[in-house]
C-alpha cells in the first residue's frame, strides 16, 4: 500500500466552493488518517456533499488545497481513480443487467479487483445475484451501490449519506458491512445526518454547518465539550414552561426553591445528549 509523506489519506485546507451567490463550502479543513473511519456530520445543505464531490474529483473547487491519497483530485488520473471507491447519494445502475453481470463488469475496470462473487456475498446479495437490477428493492440497490464502490478494492471509500431511506434493520446490517471494510484497513469517509450512525461508525467526526467545520473530534470529546452544562426546566406560576442552560445547576435549583418556597413545578434537570450538542453546533437548537 502506498504511503504518503504526512500519513494522511485526505488532507484538505481552506476548501471553498461558491454556487452563484451561495457559498456552499466556506473554508473547510479536514485531516483523515489512513485506516480511519471519518464521519462528516451536518444538516442538509451544510456543504457535506459538495465537499465529498470535490474529494471524488467530480466537482471543481474555487479555492483551497486538496490532497486525496497524495494527489489533487482535480487533476487525477486513472490510476488514482482505481484506488478510490465511491458510493453516491442517489444512484442508478443499468436496470436490464443482473447483479452478477454488473459487479463482474465493473471488476474489469480495476487493476486489482476483489472477487465479484465474494463482494456479492459481502453485501448480502447472493440470493439476488441473478436478478435484474430493475427488480431490486431500494435497500438492495443501495447494497449493490456499495458492492460497486468496493469492487476495485479501494484504499479510500467515500460514502455520501449511504443509509438514507433504510429501515432500522437494513441500517444495522449496513453498519456491520462498513465495520468489516474498516477492519480490513480501508479508509472510509462517510457523510450522514444521522447522529447515531456517526457515533456507531466513525473513529472521529467533524460537524459541518453553513460550509464550515464547527467542531471536530471523537464523539465522546464532542459530548464532553458541553458536558459541564445542564439544562434546568420548570413551570412558572403563570403556566409558562421555562428552560435554562447553566454550568451551575445546583445554584439555579437553590434559587428556584427559594422563589417557589418549596416544590418547583415541573422541575427537570438533564445533561445534554450528543444530539443537543449537535443541534447547538449547527444552529438548529430551535428545532427541538
Amino acid at each position: 500500500m502506498t504511503t504518503y509523506a504526512n500519513g494522511l489519506a485526505v488532507d484538505v485546507r481552506g476548501l471553498r466552493k461558491q454556487y452563484g451567490d451561495v457559498t456552499a463550502v466556506d473554508g473547510i479543513d479536514l485531516e483523515i488518517r489512513r485506516g480511519e473511519v471519518f464521519g462528516l456530520l451536518g444538516p442538509n445543505g451544510a456543504g457535506k456533499s459538495t465537499t465529498v464531490e470535490i474529494l471524488q474529483g467530480n466537482r471543481d473547487r474555487d479555492g483551497g488545497e486538496v490532497s486525496v491519497l497524495g494527489a489533487d483530485p482535480a487533476r487525477a488520473a486513472r490510476a488514482w481513480r482505481s484506488k478510490i471507491g465511491i458510493v453516491w447519494q442517489d444512484e442508478s445502475a443499468p436496470a436490464e443487467l443482473t447483479v452478477r453481470e454488473t459487479v463482474r463488469h465493473f471488476a474489469r475496470y480495476y487493476p486489482r479487483p476483489r472477487d465479484p462473487e465474494k463482494v456479492i456475498g459481502l453485501v448480502g446479495l447472493e440470493a439476488k445475484a441473478d436478478s435484474r437490477i430493475k427488480g431490486l428493492s431500494g435497500g438492495q440497490r443501495r447494497r449493490l451501490d456499495v458492492a460497486l464502490g468496493v469492487i476495485g478494492d479501494p484504499e479510500l471509500l467515500l460514502l455520501d449519506e449511504p443509509t438514507t431511506g433504510f429501515d432500522p434493520a437494513a441500517r444495522r446490517q449496513f453498519w456491520e458491512l462498513i465495520r468489516t471494510l474498516a477492519d480490513e484497513g480501508t479508509t472510509i469517509l462517510l457523510t450522514t445526518h444521522y447522529l447515531e450512525e456517526a457515533e456507531e461508525l466513525a473513529d472521529r467526526l467533524a460537524v459541518v454547518a453553513k460550509g464550515r467545520v464547527v467542531a471536530e473530534g471523537t464523539a465522546s470529546a464532542l459530548r464532553n465539550r458541553f458536558g459541564s452544562e445542564a439544562i434546568v426546566e420548570w413551570t412558572e406560576a403563570d403556566g409558562r414552561n421555562r428552560r435554562e442552560r447553566t454550568g451551575t445547576p445546583t445554584r439555579t435549583v437553590t434559587e428556584l426553591t427559594r422563589r417557589f418556597d418549596g416544590e418547583i413545578p415541573g422541575l427537570r434537570i438533564s445533561r445534554p445528549t450528543l444530539e443537543d450538542v449537535y443541534l447547538r453546533l449547527t444552529g438548529q437548537e430551535d428545532a427541538r
Binding site: A79, I86, L97, H105, R108, L122, E176
Partner: protein, 281 residues
C-alpha cells in the same frame, strides 16, 4: 451479512490498468446485451423502417417514367439510410441522454474506466444493430420489391464505405445531440424532431425529384442526403441517375461530405460531451 475477509489481493502486486480497447469490447458486449433485453426498444427500432417501407412502397408503386425503376424500389435504399440513422443518431441521442439523466455516466466517470472504452462500446452497439437493420431491409427489398443485389465487387465495396462513413457520422452526431436535452423525459422529442425534418429534406419519404431545390440544398448540409444518394447508387440501376439533383451518383462528393461530417461530429462530441447533467453543474 457475512464478515469473512474478502481481501484476496497481495499488497505487493502492482496490477496494470486494463486497456481501453479490451474494455471497449466488453462494454460493447454489455451494451448489446442491454439493448436486446429491452424488448420494446428492439421491436420499435427494427420494425419502424420496415413498416414505413411497407407503407410507402405500397402507396407509391408505379414505374417512375424514364428511370427503369418503380417507386417502391426507390424506397428501399431510402429506408435503409433512414434505418442506419435511426439505429445510430436516434438511438444514441436518446439513450445517452437517459444514461446521463439517470447518472449512469457519472458513476462510470467515478471508476478508472477510460472514456474511450465507453464510446467504443457505443460504436459496437451501433455497428451491430445497424448491420442487422440494414440486412432486414435488404431482405425485404430484394424479396418483396424486386431490388437487385449488386453483382460486381466494386458496388459492394462502395456499399461498405458508404455504410461505415454514414453510420459513423450519424453516431457521432447522435452522441453530440445527447447533450442538448435537459432531461430523459425531453430526450426523444429533442432527438426525433430534427431527425424527422432531415428525413424529409433528404429524400427519404419523398423522392428527390419532387422536393423543392432549396429544401434539397438544406438537406445537402447533413449526412443523410448523401447516405440516401450513395445507397441508391449501389442498389438502383444507373438509369435511375436522372432523378438526382446532379444527374449522377456523385460518389466522390458523398465520400467527401460523409468524411467531413465524421471529423466535424467527432470535434462536436469532444467539445460538448458532458458526464453530468446540468443540475449537477
Amino acid at each position: 451479512m457475512t464478515t469473512t475477509a474478502v481481501r484476496t489481493r497481495t499488497e505487493a502486486s502492482a496490477g496494470r490498468l486494463p486497456g481501453a480497447w479490451v474494455l471497449g469490447l466488453h462494454r460493447g458486449a454489455l451494451e448489446i446485451k442491454q439493448f436486446f433485453r429491452q424488448r420494446e426498444q428492439v421491436v420499435f427500432t427494427f420494425a419502424f423502417p420496415v413498416v414505413f417501407l411497407f407503407l410507402f412502397a405500397s402507396i407509391f408503386h408505379d414505374a417512375v417514367r424514364g428511370t427503369g425503376v418503380t417507386a417502391s424500389q426507390l424506397y428501399v435504399p431510402a429506408m435503409m439510410a433512414s434505418g442506419i440513422m435511426s439505429t445510430s443518431f436516434q438511438s444514441l441521442g436518446i439513450s445517452i441522454a437517459v444514461e446521463r439523466d439517470e447518472r449512469v455516466l457519472r458513476r462510470l466517470r467515478g471508476t478508472p474506466m477510460p472514456p474511450t472504452a465507453y464510446f467504443l462500446g457505443k460504436i459496437w452497439l451501433v455497428l451491430f444493430t445497424g448491420v442487422l437493420e440494414t440486412a432486414i431491409l435488404l431482405l425485404v427489398g430484394t424479396t418483396v420489391y424486386g431490388v437487385d443485389l449488386p453483382s460486381d465487387a466494386g458496388k459492394w465495396f462502395d456499399f461498405g464505405w458508404i455504410f461505415v462513413l454514414g453510420l459513423t457520422a450519424c453516431a457521432l452526431l447522435g452522441i453530440a445531440i445527447s447533450s442538448v436535452p435537459k432531461s430523459a423525459k425531453s430526450a426523444s422529442s429533442v432527438v426525433v424532431l430534427p431527425f424527422l425534418v432531415v428525413q424529409f429534406v433528404s429524400g427519404v419519404y419523398i423522392s428527390v425529384n419532387a422536393i423543392p431545390h432549396w429544401m434539397l440544398d438544406i438537406g445537402a448540409l447533413f449526412p443523410l442526403k448523401w447516405l440516401c444518394q450513395g445507397l441508391r447508387g449501389v442498389f438502383l440501376p444507373d438509369s435511375a441517375k436522372v432523378l438526382e439533383q446532379a444527374g449522377s451518383w456523385e460518389f466522390g462528393r458523398i465520400a467527401l461530405v460523409l468524411a467531413a461530417w465524421c471529423i466535424a461530429g467527432l470535434a462536436l462530441c469532444l467539445l460538448t460531451f458532458r458526464w453530468k447533467d446540468r443540475r449537477e453543474g
